[in-house]
């Protein structure tokens, strides 16, 4: 009975796909001879392919349903359990650490450069994770803060000759100010409304940078941004790349450290409370405005610092690097990786940035595969790759 049903559904799906793809897969107009070619064999391929894919699809969905029932009994996923188990976590971290240390020496410059980009996005993802994962505020224009950081360094260097290490905190502070600037008018907004306003904010920043030629040199951008210095020692191209790699790694570690501390603090608790119930948390004495602004400012700070590193890595920036697409990618790293989960966001960022890079061989199919991965992930693991399990306070007498 059920097997019959399944086959019937799959046949329907394959018929539907045959119908949908009919115009492009079957009909071919030959403009030379003005005749129509009917490629019926294509239709057969689509039909059979769709039939089996649809079977596979439903089989996977079913397995997921069963998996969920089983999961409820033990709760945590495998990765989470490994992370919590000290026995595995420590050696695991050491292997990752050694691998990271050796990475630029083992792999080529090209690989190291890609890894730097990916790690910058890890920092961005973790920063956005403060705003979305911890405080529950959906921000869509996050790339704007990234731009603020990058332009802070580029412009300060151009006009005042300020170096990388001083620009790094300044970029963070500027971005934080912009975070407060954005946060203040949107304090009352939540969810979709907040997302739309922040989306607009992101576009405003980009458009200003694109059109205010006297200030930001418009679309032509700013060239010759110096790479980070190391006590004035001259470094070759190769060494600088390795140097930047290590800087980003340290920034990532610093970010993880700070977020971990914030998570288990009075402020982190206030964020969770505010996410759970705004009215009740206000009645408990939590200042909604202040707490939300803190989340905005802190989230933006990390985008700003990532921006400074980004500018110093590419030595050239223009508004095209800070479009809505960047915001979307950063948001995807957070959602795909697992909202609120640090390990998840790191995995998400690495996957989303590295996957398209390594798939360049596939040419045009790159973006299709990318989209397919996103869709599949959201259907089979809606909580993200590594779902967040909030560490609750365990009372010890």
């Amino acid at each position: 009975m059920t097997a019959q049903n399944e086959i019937k559904k799959s046949i329907l799906a394959s018929l539907w796909f045959m119908f949908l793809t009919f115009p492009i897969m079957v009909i071919k107009v030959n403009t030379v001879t003005n005749s129509i070619e009917w490629r019926w064999h294509n239709m057969a391929i689509v039909g059979i392919g769709a039939f089996f894919l649809s079977m596979l699809w439903r089989y996977l969905l079913k397995r997921k349903e069963e998996g969920r029932k089983k999961d409820q009994s033990d709760g945590l996923s495998i990765v989470q359990r490994l992370l919590h188990e000290r026995r595995f976590a420590l050696p695991g971290l050491m292997i990752i650490g050694i691998f990271t240390l050796l990475f630029p020496h083992i792999f080529s410059m090209y690989q190291t450069n890609i890894m730097i980009s990916a790690l910058i996005f890890v920092v961005l993802g973790l920063g956005l994770n403060i705003v979305i994962g911890l405080a529950g505020l959906l921000v869509l224009g996050y790339a704007a803060f990234f731009a603020v950081g990058a332009y802070s360094y580029a412009l300060l260097n151009l006009h005042y000759g300020i170096g990388f290490w001083i620009a790094l905190p300044i970029g963070g502070i500027f971005a934080a100010l912009f975070g407060i600037l954005l946060g203040y008018p949107v304090l009352r907004l939540r969810g979709d409304y907040l997302a739309i306003v922040t989306l607009g904010f992101g576009e405003i920043i980009r458009l200003v940078l694109e059109n205010w030629n006297e200030f930001s040199f418009g679309p032509s951008g700013i060239k010759n941004i110096p790479k980070p210095g190391f006590f004035g020692i001259e470094m070759s191209m190769h060494t600088t790349t390795i140097y930047i790699f290590y800087i980003v790694v340290v920034l990532v570690i610093f970010t993880i450290f700070v977020i971990n501390r914030l998570k288990n603090s009075r402020i982190g608790r206030a964020w969770v409370a505010l996410k759970d119930d705004e009215i009740a948390s206000q009645a408990m004495g939590i200042d909604k405005a202040k707490t939300k602004l803190r989340a905005f400012a802190l989230g933006a700070t990390w985008a700003g610092m990532a921006g400074v590193v980004f500018a110093s890595k590419t030595t050239f920036i223009n508004p095209a690097s800070f479009t809505l697409w960047e915001s979307v990618i950063i948001l995807c790293t957070v959602v795909l990786g697992g909202m609120g989960s640090i390990a998840g966001v790191i995995a998400g960022a690495l996957l989303l940035i590295l996957l398209p890079e390594y798939m360049r061989d596939f040419g045009q199919f790159r973006m299709i595969t990318f989209g397919a991965v996103l869709i599949l992930m959201m259907i089979f693991r809606p909580g993200g790759m590594i779902e967040d399990v909030r560490k609750t306070y365990k009372f010890e007498k």
């Binding site: 603090s265 608790r269 969770v272 009215i279 009645a283």
Partner: protein
């Protein structure tokens, strides 16, 4: 005796609807006062006005901490809480993704200070504060009788315990006045009896005054020293339980008018 909370002529309009119509109320130190009335009479709106969720259209709300007069109108809810008024909600509003202990720890938010830098560097002061919060929260849970649930997620608690947890959370803000919005709603007789004892205990041991909205008349009559009755936003009676029980206006409001033949 001097009042600790005084509401004078408070009116609240929502567009053309007058939800509260020039109501007066005063509570003395250590008193248990009840606010009763039929559904939709404006009791919860009254609470929301006092606790800063709404700003009343007109009238004054005064509190007298340490003898000094302070006006509460228009203050934000978190400031009102800081001033010493804590409340619970009619429809339970616990932080569902947090444990019982964490819920009470949130209540300590207003009386602690650790900021971003404190959180990141976690210095001695922050650590001490954290320890203090935990100790205090556990103490409150013990007092309320919820200590066996300490690490349980708030959402997994039985209904009556959730209501008690709301009270515990409110107590963590160190209030001088506790506003309870239908604390016995949905409780069975046994739980209601325990609640009765708990409220008395809070008042007697901590000296916290209590303003109570409740439909359970048995509880109201046994607990309160003074009762205010509102209907259609207007105060229709005030007095001791005995006076209220025999007040014809109150009976009319609750049971409807008798038809003369």
């Amino acid at each position: 005796m001097k009042p600790i909370l005084e509401v004078q002529n408070m009116t609240m309009d929502f567009g053309g609807l007058r939800a509260i119509d020039s109501v007066d109320l005063s509570i003395e130190k250590g008193q248990i006062v009840a606010l009763i009335g039929p559904n939709g009479a404006g009791k919860t709106t009254f609470f929301n006005c006092i606790t800063g969720i709404y700003t009343p259209t007109s009238g004054d709300i005064y509190i007298y901490p340490r003898g000094k007069e302070e006006r509460l109108n228009g203050l934000k809810p978190n400031i009102v809480t800081k001033k010493g008024l804590a409340r619970t909600f009619q429809n339970i509003r616990l932080f569902t993704s947090m444990t019982v202990l964490e819920n009470v720890m949130i209540g300590c938010h207003a009386i602690t200070k650790a900021g971003i830098m404190g959180a990141i560097f976690r210095g001695a002061a922050t650590k001490a504060e954290e320890r203090l919060i935990v100790k205090k929260s556990y103490g409150i849970l013990e007092k309320i009788g919820l200590e066996k649930y300490v690490d349980e997620l708030a959402i997994n608690l039985p209904y009556g315990a959730q209501r008690r947890l709301e009270i515990a959370r409110a107590l963590a803000t160190d209030p001088f006045l506790l506003l309870l919005d239908e604390p016995a709603a949905g409780m069975n007789p046994q739980e209601t009896m325990e609640l009765d004892e708990l409220i008395l205990k809070i008042r007697n041991r901590e000296g916290i005054s209590i303003l109570l909205i409740e439909h359970d008349m048995k509880l109201v009559m046994s607990l309160s020293e003074k009762i205010y009755v509102v209907d259609y936003g207007k105060k229709i009676a005030e007095g001791t339980p005995e006076e209220i029980r025999n007040n014809p206006v109150v009976i009319k409001a609750y049971l409807g008018e008798e038809i003369d033949e």
